[in-house]
């Protein structure tokens, strides 16, 4: 990965069942080339950093989000194709604390009382 601002920006869909793809480059709103299973182009609606996920199909609240062909949790609100999929719209089926973390940094927000 010599350049991180490739044109076209790429994202990998690991399994044919997946409704998210993982960005291989940093994306700005605009077309993203999906590689892996079934090549297609999806327009990113948000800036999305490499390593993060983008919806490649719409999901409604409660629906399973699939990566590697398996559930990695459920949508906590409706998600449109092209949206950044992360802590704000995807929740674990096991871990509740992760939904309370800072969206950008992942830093905890529930231990503020100790930092004084």
């Amino acid at each position: 990965m010599e350049s991180f601002n490739r044109n076209p920006v790429r994202a990998i869909r690991i399994h044919p069942l997946d409704n998210v793809a993982t960005l291989l480059d940093d994306a700005v709103p605009g077309p993203v080339q999906i590689v892996g299973h079934e090549k297609m182009v999806v327009a990113a609606l948000d800036p999305i950093a490499a390593g993060h996920k983008m919806a490649i199909a719409a999901s409604s609240t409660g629906q399973s989000i699939l990566k590697y062909g398996l559930s990695i949790g459920h949508a906590v609100r409706n998600i449109a194709a092209g949206e950044w999929v992360h802590l704000h719209n995807l929740a674990s089926n096991y871990d509740q604390r992760s939904s309370t973390l800072d969206l950008q940094t992942g830093a905890p927000t529930d231990t503020s009382h100790a930092y004084r």
């Binding site: 990965m1 993982t22 995807l90 096991y94």
Partner: protein, 403 residues
């Protein structure tokens, strides 16, 4: 692909028949109070590593772990240093190491008389031990003599796409060549029970895997701690299920022979899962792997002569006893931390290298390190260790409070 026959190097033969890729002296301290003296003894002694347990109250798990490390194939001799008050017995540790056929000694700081005298005394013991292991037999080693562990830490969106899959492919090669591979982190297999059980080599392995999985899930629920950190989320991972799927990729594709516990070596070749999760206990679960170093120590206690560490976000740690090889699937991390990163699996994601080619490169690097080439953390002098209170296979409470 290199075969067991084509890749051979010289190792050190231990009395139990296992072979080491290093010939080290291990200094062990048995309480925090002896920590400074232990490190001072090992200062400026490149072949001498230090581990120790901080607590004054002893812990069966920690004792077993220290003994497994002191009788590790990469260790030729050991010196146990105690203060004198603590429960953990330096003399008994040294005695058991001697019974394994290795030279070993011990002393208590209170009996020796203070800091300076203890350091001088320890140094003189060290020199004696060194002269006793310099002629340990060198014997040819192949992949079939290797046990390699893999841990991941500081995972990001690349770990499950490149770093861990490359290790998985490497593990397939190692297992096919008759070696042993250990992966752990059952708390990072959350949601994967079905695919884990599908990999069982036989019905007894299936039972062991099911037990280990169920314990891990119930542990996480009970302590409300799931094995994911802020850096994982910043790196694009959103849920423990997603992180688990990526982490599991390091196991490759071969059948899993069963579950080993901390301080237990795989009894036969093949791929093994290590269970490092505490057992249910009257003092509650406690913590499982509170940091990456703890997990690496567990893998070394399982007899791994080399440990692979996959880190997407980047890390600078190393390990005592067994060289740590640091792998990243994130090309940005590789560029930023080149001094610390041994291997760039990011070439798989940029399309510059296939997974197979990357795994073969990793195999070649592992063979060079096994032959004596220092890994990057080894060269930099990183020897982080961590031994904690934990309850595994602890006998039931027989005695305690009379109240």
């Amino acid at each position: 692909m290199p075969t067991a026959e084509s890749s051979s190097w010289l190792g050190w033969l231990r009395p139990d028949g296992r072979k080491g890729v290093r010939n080290l002296i291990l200094v062990l301290y048995t309480v925090e109070c002896a920590q400074y003296v232990a490190h001072a003894i090992a200062r400026d002694e490149p072949d001498t590593h230090v581990i120790g347990f901080s607590g004054c109250y002893d812990n069966a798990y920690a004792i077993r772990l220290m003994l497994a490390l002191a009788r590790h194939p990469n260790v030729g001799a050991a010196l146990a240093v105690g203060l004198g008050c603590e429960y953990t017995q330096a003399g008994r540790l040294a005695q058991l190491v001697r019974e394994s056929g290795r030279p070993a000694d011990d002393f208590l700081i209170q009996e020796t008389g203070g800091t300076t005298r203890s350091i001088d005394h320890g140094k003189s013991i060290l020199h004696k031990l060194r002269s006793q292991i310099k002629d340990v037999a060198r014997v040819p080693m192949t992949l079939a003599d290797l046990t390699v562990g893999c841990e991941c830490g500081g995972s990001d969106g690349t770990s499950g796409l490149a770093g861990n899959p490359v290790v998985g492919r490497f593990f397939d090669y190692l297992v096919d060549a008759g070696g042993r591979a250990i992966f752990e982190e059952t708390v990072e297999q959350i949601g994967l029970k079905e695919i884990l059980l599908q990999r069982a080599a036989h019905p007894s392995a299936l039972q062991q895997l099911a037990r280990a999985y169920d314990k891990a899930e119930s542990y996480c629920k009970s302590v409300r701690q799931w094995s994911a950190s802020p850096g994982n989320f910043a790196g694009g991972l959103t849920t423990i299920e997603e992180k688990s799927l990526g982490a599991f990729a390091k196991s490759g594709s071969r059948p899993i022979q069963g579950v080993v516990r901390v301080s237990e070596s795989p009894p036969s070749p093949g791929l093994w899962l290590m269970d490092s999760v505490p057992d249910p206990h009257y003092m509650q679960f406690g913590y499982t792997n509170p940091n990456d170093t703890e997990g690496i120590m567990d893998l070394i206690s399982g007899g791994c002569q080399i440990v692979l560490f996959v880190t997407g976000r980047g890390s600078v740690i190393g390990s005592p006893i067994s060289p740590l090889i640091k792998i990243t699937g994130n090309a940005r991390t590789y560029e930023k931390m080149r001094e610390d990163m041994d291997f760039n699996a990011g070439l798989v994601l940029s399309g510059e290298q296939t997974l197979d080619a990357s795994a073969l490169d990793l195999l070649a690097l592992t063979l060079r390190v096994a032959s004596g080439e220092p890994s990057k953390p080894e060269k930099l002098g990183h020897r982080e260790y961590f031994i904690m209170y934990k309850h595994q296979d602890t006998p039931g409470l027989q005695q305690g409070c009379h109240a």
